[in-house]
C-alpha cells in the first residue's frame, strides 16, 4: 500500500475507531474491571481487588441451593427461550404465507409487519398495559359481561405477551428474507423423485430456510434476555428479569461491582448461547 493510500485509510478508520474505542470498548472493559473491585457506599467503586461480587452472585442463601439472583438469571433465559419458540411457531408459517403471495400483496404484508418494527417500543408496551390493566380493556369487557375480573397485569403471562409482541417482527423479517429467495422448483424436483410433503419440508425447505430461522432466533433471543422495559411496565417490578436487577444495582442499590459481575456473567452466558445456535446451524448445513 502506498503511503498516500495508508493515510487515506487512517483518515477513514480513525474517527470511528476512536469513538468506538472510547465509548464502547473502554466502557465494556471498565465493567469487567469493576466486577473485581470493592463496593463504595453511595455508588462507584474502591480500587481494591475483591471477589465479593462474584461470591454474592453464586453463593446460596437461606438454605436454598439457588439464590434469588441465579433464579432471575434462570428465569430470563427461560422466558427468552419461550418467547423465541412462540415467535418461531407463529412467525414461520406467517413468513411462509407472505412469501407465497403475489409481489404486491407480499409487499403490503411486509409493510404491515414493519410498522410495529419501526414503532417506538415503549409505546407498544404501554399499549398492552392499557389492555391488561385491572381496569383495562379486557377486564372492562369481562365486567360488562358480568364475569369476574382476572389478574393479568404484573403476572408472568403479561410479561411474556409483551415480550412476544415486541419480538415477532424481528422473527418474521429474516424468515421472510430467506423464504423469498427459495427456489420452488426444488420442491417440484423433490416431489418428482417421490418425496411426500413432509419429506420435502424437512429435507429441502427447512434446511434451506435455516439461516433465516437462526438469524430470527438470535434477533429475538438476545434483546429479550436483557429486557428492562417490558418486565418494568407489564411486570410492575414484581416479576423481575436480568435488566431489572442490573438497573437496580446501578440505581437504587448502588452496588456497582455486583451489577458489573451480573453484566459480565450475563455476557458470557449469552456468548455461549450464540455459539450454540451457530453450531446448530453449521451441523444442519453439513
Amino acid at each position: 500500500m502506498s503511503t498516500r493510500r495508508k493515510s487515506y485509510l487512517a483518515f477513514l478508520l480513525g474517527p470511528g475507531g476512536l469513538w468506538l474505542t472510547l465509548f464502547f470498548i473502554i466502557p465494556s472493559l471498565l465493567i469487567v474491571a469493576y466486577s473485581f473491585l470493592e463496593r463504595r457506599d453511595g455508588g462507584g467503586v474502591i480500587w481494591q481487588f475483591s471477589l465479593d461480587a462474584y461470591i454474592k452472585l453464586f453463593s446460596p442463601t437461606g438454605g436454598a441451593v439457588i439464590n434469588d439472583f441465579m433464579l432471575i438469571f434462570f428465569r430470563s433465559f427461560w422466558w427468552a427461550t419461550l418467547t423465541t419458540i412462540i415467535c418461531l411457531l407463529a412467525g414461520y408459517p406467517l413468513a411462509f404465507y407472505m412469501s407465497r403471495q403475489s409481489r404486491s400483496t407480499a409487499n403490503i404484508l411486509l409493510f404491515l409487519v414493519m410498522i410495529p418494527f419501526w414503532t417506538n417500543f415503549l409505546v407498544r408496551t404501554y399499549a398492552w398495559k392499557f389492555i391488561l390493566n385491572n381496569n383495562g380493556l379486557i377486564n372492562s369487557m369481562l365486567q360488562a359481561l358480568e364475569m369476574p375480573r382476572i389478574a393479568l397485569i404484573n403476572t408472568p403471562t403479561a410479561v411474556i405477551i409483551g415480550l412476544v409482541y415486541g419480538s415477532l417482527p424481528f422473527m418474521v423479517l429474516p424468515l421472510y428474507a430467506s423464504m423469498e429467495r427459495f427456489d420452488f422448483s426444488l420442491v417440484e424436483a423433490g416431489q418428482d423423485l417421490g418425496a411426500n410433503y413432509w419429506q420435502v419440508f424437512t429435507r429441502v425447505y427447512l434446511p434451506l430456510t435455516t439461516p433465516g430461522v437462526v438469524a430470527g432466533c438470535i434477533l429475538v433471543f438476545i434483546p429479550v434476555v436483557g429486557q428492562y422495559v417490558v418486565p418494568t411496565i407489564l411486570g410492575g417490578g414484581k416479576v423481575a428479569m436480568l435488566g431489572n436487577i442490573l438497573a437496580q444495582q446501578f440505581g437504587p442499590a448502588l452496588n456497582w461491582p455486583f451489577g458489573s459481575a451480573i453484566a459480565v456473567v450475563f455476557m458470557i452466558l449469552l456468548m455461549f448461547g450464540i455459539a450454540i445456535q451457530f453450531r446448530m446451524q453449521r451441523e444442519e448445513e453439513l
Binding site: G17, P27, I31, G44, W118, W128, Y165, F250
Partner: protein, 277 residues
C-alpha cells in the same frame, strides 16, 4: 388425502396470518382510539375529545422532551452517518492488519443487549466526568454532569455500527471496476469518492441515516442510563408518566410518536423504491 391436507394447510396458514396481524395491531388501534376518549378512567368510553392533545401541547415538559429528542436524534445521526460511512468504506475497500477483529468489534454494539451498554456507559461517564471535575476543581454549577451531551455520545456509539452495516451492503452491491476505471483515468481518492462512490452508495447512506435517526428517537434504555438533569427525551418523559399512572394523555403522546414512526417508514420506503429504480 393429499388434497384435503393442502386445503387444511392453507386454512391454517391464513388463520395464523389473521391472528398474527390482529395481535400486532389491536394494541396500536386501541391506543390511538383511546387517545380521543373523554373519560380519564382507563377503558370506559366517555365520548370523543381532543383535550388530551391540547393538554399535551400545553405541557412544558412534553415540549421540552420533544425538542430534546429531535436535537439528540439529528446531531447523533449526522455524526454516526459520517463516521459509519467512513468506516464502511475502509472495511470494504481496504485490506489491513486486524481487519477481521475490527469487523467483529463493529458488530458488537448491534448484538449486545442495550441494558449492558447502558450500564457500562453509566459507569464510564461517572468515572470520566468525576475525574474531569476533580482535576479542574469544578464544583456546583460548573461541574460536568451527564445530560444531553452524554446521551448524544452514547447514541453515536451504537449508531456507527448500524450505519456501517447498511452502507457496507450497498458498497458490496456495486461494480468496483467503476472506481478502478476512474482511478486509471487519473482521478485521486477524493474525486473518485465524490463523483463515483458517493452517488452510487447514497441510497445506502440515506437508509443508514434513517435507521440511525429512528433508533435514536426510539431509544429509551441507553438514554435512561446516560442522561442527567435537564436531559429528558420523549421516551424518558413517557416512561416516567407510565410509571406514575396511566392516563389518556400518554395515549395522545404515544399517538404522536406513532405518527412520527409511520412518517419515517414512508420516507424509508420512498428511498428504497428510488434505490430499486
Amino acid at each position: 388425502m393429499d388434497k384435503s391436507f393442502l386445503t387444511w394447510g392453507k386454512r391454517f396458514l391464513w388463520l395464523n396470518m389473521i391472528f398474527s396481524f390482529l395481535f400486532l395491531y389491536i394494541p396500536i388501534v386501541v391506543l390511538v382510539l383511546f387517545s380521543f376518549n373523554d373519560s380519564r378512567l382507563g377503558a370506559k368510553w366517555g365520548g370523543f375529545t381532543f383535550k388530551w392533545y391540547i393538554e399535551m401541547f400545553n405541557s412544558e415538559a412534553v415540549l421540552t422532551a420533544f425538542s430534546n429528542s429531535i436535537m439528540v436524534a439529528v446531531i447523533s445521526t449526522v455524526i454516526a452517518t459520517i463516521l459509519g460511512t467512513m468506516t464502511a468504506i475502509a472495511m470494504e475497500r481496504f485490506r489491513f492488519p486486524f481487519r477481521r477483529t475490527y469487523d467483529g468489534i463493529l458488530y458488537l454494539p448491534v448484538i449486545i443487549p442495550d441494558i449492558v451498554m447502558g450500564v457500562s456507559l453509566l459507569a464510564f461517564f461517572a468515572l470520566l466526568l468525576g475525574s474531569v471535575n476533580t482535576a479542574f476543581g469544578l464544583e456546583g454549577n460548573a461541574a460536568w454532569r451527564p445530560g444531553l451531551t452524554t446521551v448524544i455520545i452514547a447514541h453515536v456509539a451504537f449508531n456507527i455500527s448500524f450505519v456501517a452495516i447498511v452502507v457496507r451492503t450497498s458498497l458490496k452491491d456495486f461494480d468496483k471496476s467503476l472506481e478502478e476505471a476512474a482511478q486509471d483515468l487519473g482521478a485521486d481518492e477524493w474525486i473518485t469518492f465524490r463523483h463515483i462512490t458517493l452517488p452510487l452508495i447514497m441510497p445506502g447512506i440515506l437508509g443508514g441515516a434513517l435507521l440511525a435517526f429512528t433508533l435514536s428517537l426510539d431509544d429509551f434504555v441507553i438514554t435512561f442510563f446516560t442522561t442527567g438533569p435537564g436531559g429528558t427525551t420523549l421516551p424518558i418523559e413517557v416512561f416516567g408518566r407510565i410509571r406514575r399512572s396511566i392516563s389518556p394523555e400518554i395515549n395522545a403522546i404515544s399517538t404522536v410518536m406513532l405518527i412520527m414512526s409511520m412518517m419515517l417508514i414512508v420516507i424509508s420506503q420512498f428511498i428504497q423504491r428510488r434505490n430499486n429504480v
